[in-house]
Amino acid sequence: MPGSRQARLTALKGQVAALEAGTRTPTSVLPFGDPRVDDCLPGGGLPLGRWHELASAGMEIETGAVAAGFAAMLARSMAGQGAVIWVMRRDDLYAPGLAGLGLSASRLIQVKTPDEVQTLMALEDALGSAGVAAVIGEVEDVDLTAGRRLQLACERHGATGLVIRRRPWGGTGRKPDTGSAAATRWRVSAAPSDPVGEPGLGPPRWRAALERSRGGRPGEWIFEGRQEADHDAHPLRVVSGLADHGLDAANDLPVRRRA
């Protein structure tokens, strides 16, 4: 009965796919509105109801300012759906600066935690609460177990997590990145602004490399922050695509396997 065998195989494959997807609800995405980015992301945009990792390099690992700005821009477009919660160990986050990026302080609940464990606990609790749209956390490291727990919490009510890898002042670095349960991993750094002829500084720019994306492929771009007045557009505008890097990495086998 080759026909029925084929049917059973299909059914089994369907079951396996369902198992692999776990309890995950079909996720919605937040498109960047630019095919150069959206094509690299599964589903054509930043997956919502998942958590994403933002890393940085150099002094930024300690200040975490550039990554925080990038996270604030991403969270800005989610703030309409519910509360935004920022969990951190150092409360040097400055609300007027966030307001300048368009993330209003009236939508933002800040939580200060004494240590790493409490940070992860608060993150998980916040991600699993209804009425929460996005949770931004500043942590040193998320291991596989913690990452999996965060993912399960995200799936409960569809909150999106943005985890900034930030090292405490003067602390020594932890072990290098191992596997992670994050849906995407970004490496964010500052990029020179372009004031187009005017004196002073232009709108903030970020150089963001999508290092890993489940079901997508990596890439690297330079984004510029949009003014808050542009409600409909994504807060981040692609200024330049560093496409060659992205294509190279797309052919990178290990990455594809993980994807």
Binding site: A83, Y94, A99, A105, S106, L108, Q118, A122, G200, P204
Partner: protein, 565 residues
């Protein structure tokens, strides 16, 4: 109808002294032991919590109790002889040693409080004299009053040797007023605290009956205290010394004599106090008692026939009692913001735990979850016999919101409030906040923490003045090179790394708020000129220069105050 239970401890200084010195030496001599009077362990704990929590009206007592006396003080050597030597406590009054209190044996041989110590020693050579410690007596009394919370949430300390309990509506939990008073006296007696108790409609009447109504307990029926008060001496009216001395001289020795006299003349002769006390005793005038915690009708208790000590049982007990109180709140259409769950241990120590809600609520499940992590901290000792729960900040709450008539937004709001409560309970009240604009142009002061739930004020910061995303609590000194006095630097070194400035904006001049500072803390040296600079990698910083070029007294210095995204 109010019902007041007055407890009187005759010779309280003696009792307190005895307990201070002896009762601690025999452990297990009595499983129902009261908290050792000197604020030790549990009672110190409670007092600390209380000042921060519900009542907050008596912060003064907490300091002393933070330094607990050693649990076991050495027993005085002459104690063990068993001989009942007369005991007196001494104090120094205006340079004269006087008896502060005497025990029954000493009173029997003719000693009395206020007597000169030398006279007493001459009369009774075998008198045992010890130092009195009135503050410790007060502390001990407060410890007992804290312990009495198991009977009623409203307990007031009465003078230096008594307590008032407002038992309105709680006596049924004990099977009546008489049973309650008996239980109280029995427990006190097993702990070596002689006491008398009386229940009446007013504090005045209860006070009088406890002290002059005879041994044991006296219960005056509702509205029936007048005939019981009539035969008592007038000192039962809590009069001041002058009146108390003068009235008997005029033949007015008993309260019944006072009742028949014209009120106007009494007032003219003795002042308003006598009549006021009389009215208070008879219930014709109000009297305010200072309860150690605000009385709340939102109170419930669970008693266990077998003491519990396993964590699971504690959690279950917490769930049960919360369920009960919440059901009452539900029936009456109310919710509460603060809950205090107290575990009373067999040895009388109480472990209070608090939980707060940012929106008034009555969801037993949520509350139990808030309490659950705190139960691990409770040391059950030999077991917990009573659990009490009281609710504070009770307010009206609309009926439970069904999923049909409530909007999703309101539901989400509630869920976020519940999350904020969980986080605040675990991390502390001040660890969860929402930033709010504060009218100040000094960057450090422009943000105030506000409540994380409830309606939020819109941002009030000037959008034309860019602010960094990270503001350092203390500006960090940098070495900067500027070409011209009022120009931004061309390069600077921060944390050992050199940054070449590519673009810059500024200055934005921010002066200290001179009205908030002493005069020498304002001036040109404290004016900051802020620049926003970008280095060649694109990193953006907020720098400022304090001080002026050309002024030798205030040389300019450069600081880094924040980092932009």
């Amino acid at each position: 109808m109010t019902r007041i239970l007055s407890v009187w401890f005759p010779d309280w200084p003696i009792t307190a002294w005895t307990r201070r010195t002896t009762c601690l030496s025999g452990d297990g001599h009595d499983p129902l032991a009261l908290p050792p009077p000197r604020g030790e362990g549990g009672s110190a704990n409670r007092r600390r919590n209380e000042t921060g929590g519900a009542s907050g009206d008596r912060g003064s007592t907490s300091n002393a109790s933070l330094h607990p006396a050693p649990l076991r003080e050495p027993v005085p050597p002459h104690e063990g002889k068993g001989g009942r030597r007369p005991l007196a406590l001494l104090t120094t009054e205006a340079g004269v040693r006087r008896l502060y209190a005497v025990d029954a044996a000493a009173r029997a041989v003719g000693l009395f409080a206020g007597q000169k110590a030398t006279d007493a020693a001459a009369l009774v050579p075998e008198l045992r004299a010890e130092e009195a410690d009135p503050p410790a007596d007060v502390q001990a009394l407060e410890a007992v009053s804290d312990w009495c919370v198991r009977y009623s949430p409203a307990v007031a300390v009465d003078g230096v040797d008594g307590l008032f309990l407002d038992i309105t509506g709680v006596s049924h939990l004990w099977g009546g007023e008489a049973a309650m008073a008996d239980d109280l006296l029995a427990r006190l007696a097993t702990n070596g605290i002689p006491a008398r108790a009386a229940v009446a409609d007013t504090a005045g009447a209860a006070w009088a009956l406890a002290r002059f109504g005879g041994e044991g307990r006296v219960i005056a029926d509702p509205g029936g205290q007048a005939p019981r008060l009539a035969p008592l001496p007038i000192t039962a009216l809590r009069l001041d010394e002058v009146s108390a001395a003068q009235l008997p001289r005029l033949g007015l020795t008993r309260i019944e004599r006072l009742l028949g006299l014209p009120r106007a003349q009494l007032t003219r002769r003795f002042g308003p106090m006598v009549l006021r006390r009389l009215d208070q005793a008879l219930g014709r005038a109000e009297e305010a008692l200072t309860f150690r915690r605000p009385p709340t009708p939102w109170f419930d208790r669970l008693t266990f026939a077998e003491p519990i000590s396993v964590l699971d049982d504690l959690v279950r007990a917490a769930g049960d009692i919360t369920e009960r109180l919440c059901r009452r709140l539900q029936v009456e259409g109310r919710g509460a913001r603060r809950f205090e769950l107290t575990f009373h241990r067999l040895d009388g120590k109480a472990f209070p735990t608090q939980a707060g809600l940012s929106l008034a609520g009555r969801d037993a499940r949520v509350l139990t979850r808030l309490f659950a992590p705190k139960l691990e901290m409770i040391d059950p000792g030999f077991g917990i016999e009573v659990v009490t729960l009281s609710a504070g900040g009770v307010e009206r709450l609309s009926a439970a919101q069904g999923s049909l008539d409530s909007s999703r937004a309101a539901l989400a709001e509630e869920e976020v409030a519940a999350l904020v409560d969980r986080l605040a309970n675990r991390l502390g009240e001040s660890a969860v906040w929402r930033a709010e604009t504060f009218e100040s142009h000094v960057p450090e002061r422009a943000v105030h923490p506000a409540s994380a739930v409830g309606p939020a004020r819109p941002d009030g910061w000037d959008p034309d003045k860019p602010r960094p995303i990270r503001l350092f609590p203390h500006p960090e000194a940098i070495a900067a090179v500027a070409e011209l006095p009022d120009e931004p630097p061309v390069a600077f070194t921060w944390r050992g790394r050199r940054h070449r400035v590519k673009r810059a904006e500024g200055p934005e001049r921010i002066a200290e708020e001179w009205w908030r500072k002493p005069i020498d803390k304002v001036g040109p040296a404290f004016v900051r000129d802020y620049y926003r600079v970008e280095d060649d990698t694109g990193a953006r910083f907020w720098l400022f220069r304090a001080g002026l070029y050309g002024d030798p007294e205030t040389p300019p210095r450069w600081w880094l105050h924040g980092v932009f995204a």
